[in-house]
């Protein structure tokens, strides 16, 4: 029973966040989109487990209903 880790799991949270934003600094939007797509695919393969990936997709996809919630 694998589950998506939602408790803190970063070894260095601030350093990760800095690296993520640094990767996008001074990039055009199309370039940033490509970087994100590459990153998602690299990380998805690292996780590998379909169930974990689907749980992550499920939570990530909740953004769709956000505008309704704010009304």
């Amino acid at each position: 029973m694998s589950r998506l880790e939602l408790k803190p799991n970063f070894t260095q949270p601030d350093a990760f966040y800095a690296a993520l934003t640094a990767a996008h600094r001074e990039r055009s939007e199309p370039e940033s989109e490509r970087i994100n797509a590459r990153l998602i695919l690299l990380l998805a393969n690292h996780i590998g487990d379909q169930q974990v990936l689907e749980e992550a997709l499920e939570i990530a996809s909740q953004v769709v209903s956000a505008p309704n919630q704010s009304q």
Partner: protein
């Protein structure tokens, strides 16, 4: 330019035109394409007569299906046409995928040694149909093949079907126990009966161009995403016999099919792809859109839908004709058993359960490939291109590249016909799986295991059993074979000769040890195989009583009560 001349088959005036009664026959098949012809041949080999009605008088015009899988060829080998296909076809195993101006990935189907049939051959559909017609004519005692006999109306009744046929000499009527509908993707009979085939239409157009050229391209499958010679679209190149090359251009939804079909518009596309100095001639071209769709049930009263009429897929993955042949393979033996009174009609409902599973698998794979090849949004296009970009350097991304997941044999893992399975056997031959080939010796001569199986039930046991058991084993087998006249015996040896005193018994020598290896077969072990060569049950320690139970189960004897509950929309006893 043509490399193939379509044979013209003669129309003959049907005798029914001159009688007042409505003749009744066990089976009528509508459509003399790959599915209909294969069904007629399969039934004939199992002793069942059929009438095949076709509104045309020739084989496929244009190459259409060109890619035939190992399992399809194994089925055709059982039907007696595979050797001609192997002799004529182009065998390939290497595929390459290109993105823009570079190769990003190649694959090799790497067939395992010790199989009669290669992973894939390419061959124009008209050759397949011609060979099937030839075979059907050899079986003319069983197959009444009627060209230019057009079915104009069908009445599907609970116990029989009435078929109204138009010919140039007038109209006649037939009735049958079972009607097989193999009239293609736009099945008129399906429409007449008000039945639906539901699914997805893809908003895209493709141009198929068959060109004749003497080219230096290797015998490989080449697939381009967004190539310089056809920007933003995909292209597939595949070799066929007679120096014919299949080129498949994605055109986009806005393309005008009539314009794109014109030779003057096709030529520049092909020339841009092949290079300025390559000479070629255009043999056949067609512009198509495609659908991935299937019926909810392939059975309506006593009408059975097979092939594209029942399930239709996109061409990516070669799952159309290959899926169709597997459906025929599944249905024919069941119809034959029911017509011979060896099984009740509830067995036929398992055509639905087993082949709905197969069709769903094909539809899923075909839809996924199509979504990868023709992305539906800017973001899905971004992911597609990113996968291709990463694939060049990183092996993980190659697993996501989907230019068609090539047809694999279907396993009926969850089937009511599956019987016992003991632990310690290889997973890929569990009940519901198609049998695997292996080299064997029969009467000292080289032969193939699959050629010893099929058309009838076969009990395959290992004759290298503990010698203390021989005497009781022979007695048990003798009783079993007497009880079940539909059962044959294959004994894997070297085994003692006294087995040969048993009726309907074939002694094989596992000359390369591959039967033992592939089947996990050891002394005392056994497999029961269905007439379609799928595994019904297997045991580490075979007993006649186990075999008896498995045989009853594979014939659906436990299903009668279940099937009757399902009501009148399916076949019931």
């Amino acid at each position: 330019m043509t490399t193939y001349k379509n044979p013209i088959y003669p129309y003959r005036r049907p005798a029914e035109l001159d009688v007042d009664i409505t003749p009744h026959c066990p089976i009528i098949i509508v459509g003399a394409g790959p599915s209909g012809l294969a069904a007629a041949i399969d039934l004939a080999l199992q002793g069942i007569k059929s009438i095949v009605l076709d509104d045309n008088n020739t084989v496929s015009v244009g190459s259409r299906a060109i890619c035939f899988s190992k399992r399809t060829l194994e089925i055709l080998d059982r039907l007696g046409t595979a050797q001609k296909m192997l002799d004529k076809g182009v065998t390939w195993q290497q595929g390459r995928v290109f993105f823009q101006d570079r190769e990003v990935y190649s694959f090799n189907l790497l067939p395992e040694e010790g199989h009669r049939i290669p992973a894939f051959i390419n061959l124009q559909q008209y050759y397949l149909e011609e060979y099937l017609v030839d075979r059907a004519m050899e079986l003319s005692d069983y197959i009444d093949l009627r060209w230019q006999n057009k079915v104009s109306h069908v009445d599907s009744l609970p116990m029989q079907s009435l078929v109204y046929v138009d010919t140039e000499d007038g109209f006649y009527q037939l009735s049958c126990d079972y009607l097989l509908v193999a009239d293609g993707a736009n099945s008129k009979i399906r429409d007449m009966l008000g039945l639906e085939c539901k699914g997805q239409v893809f908003q895209d157009r493709f141009l198929i161009a068959d060109v004749v050229m003497k080219a230096e391209f290797p015998t490989e499958r080449w697939f381009w995403f967004d190539p310089p010679f056809h920007p933003n679209q995909s292209v597939l190149l595949h070799k066929q016999p007679d120096n014919v090359w299949r080129i498949d251009f994605q055109l986009g939804w806005d393309a005008d099919p009539e314009e794109e079909k014109k030779e003057e518009n096709i030529r520049p596309r092909v020339q841009a792809m092949l290079g300025e100095d390559v000479e070629f001639e255009l043999e056949w071209a067609s512009v198509y859109t495609f659908r991935c769709r299937m019926m909810d049930s392939f059975i309506h009263h006593r009408v059975f839908f097979v092939g594209d009429a029942a399930h239709q897929v996109s061409p990516f993955g070669a799952r159309g004709a290959n899926g169709a042949l597997q459906s025929v393979d599944n249905l024919a033996w069941k119809l034959a058993r029911v017509l011979k009174g060896e099984a009740s009609s509830s067995l036929l409902e398992t055509y639905n359960t087993e082949r709905l599973h197969g069709a769903k698998e094909n539809l899923l794979n075909s839809t996924r490939a199509t979504d990868f090849i023709t992305p539906k949004s800017r973001i899905s296009r971004l992911f597609r291109d990113t996968v291709l970009e990463l694939a060049e350097q990183h092996p993980f991304a190659r697993t996501l590249v989907n230019s068609g997941r090539l047809s694999q044999p279907c396993h009926y893992y969850v089937s009511p016909l599956n019987g016992a399975d003991d632990i310690g056997f290889p997973d890929d031959l569990c009940p519901g799986s198609p049998a695997k080939d292996a080299p064997v010796k029969r009467d000292g001569k080289e032969a193939w295991l699959l050629n010893q199986l099929g058309n009838r039930f076969v009990l395959m046991i290992d004759g290298r059993a503990d010698s203390a058991r021989y005497q009781s084993l022979v007695a048990e087998l003798s009783e079993l074979l007497t009880l079940h006249i539909e059962l044959d015996l294959v004994i894997i040896g070297p085994s003692p000769h006294f087995f040969s005193q048993l009726p309907r018994c074939t002694l094989l020598e596992d000359s390369d040890g591959l039967v033992s290896e592939r089947y996990g077969l050891t002394g005392d072990g056994g497999y029961l195989l269905r007439p379609d060569q799928h595994v019904a049950a297997r045991w580490k320690k075979f007993t006649a009583s186990n075999a008896n139970d498995a045989l009853d189960r594979a014939l659906g004897k436990h299903l009668t009560a279940d099937a009757n509950i399902k009501g009148d929309c399916h076949v019931t006893a």
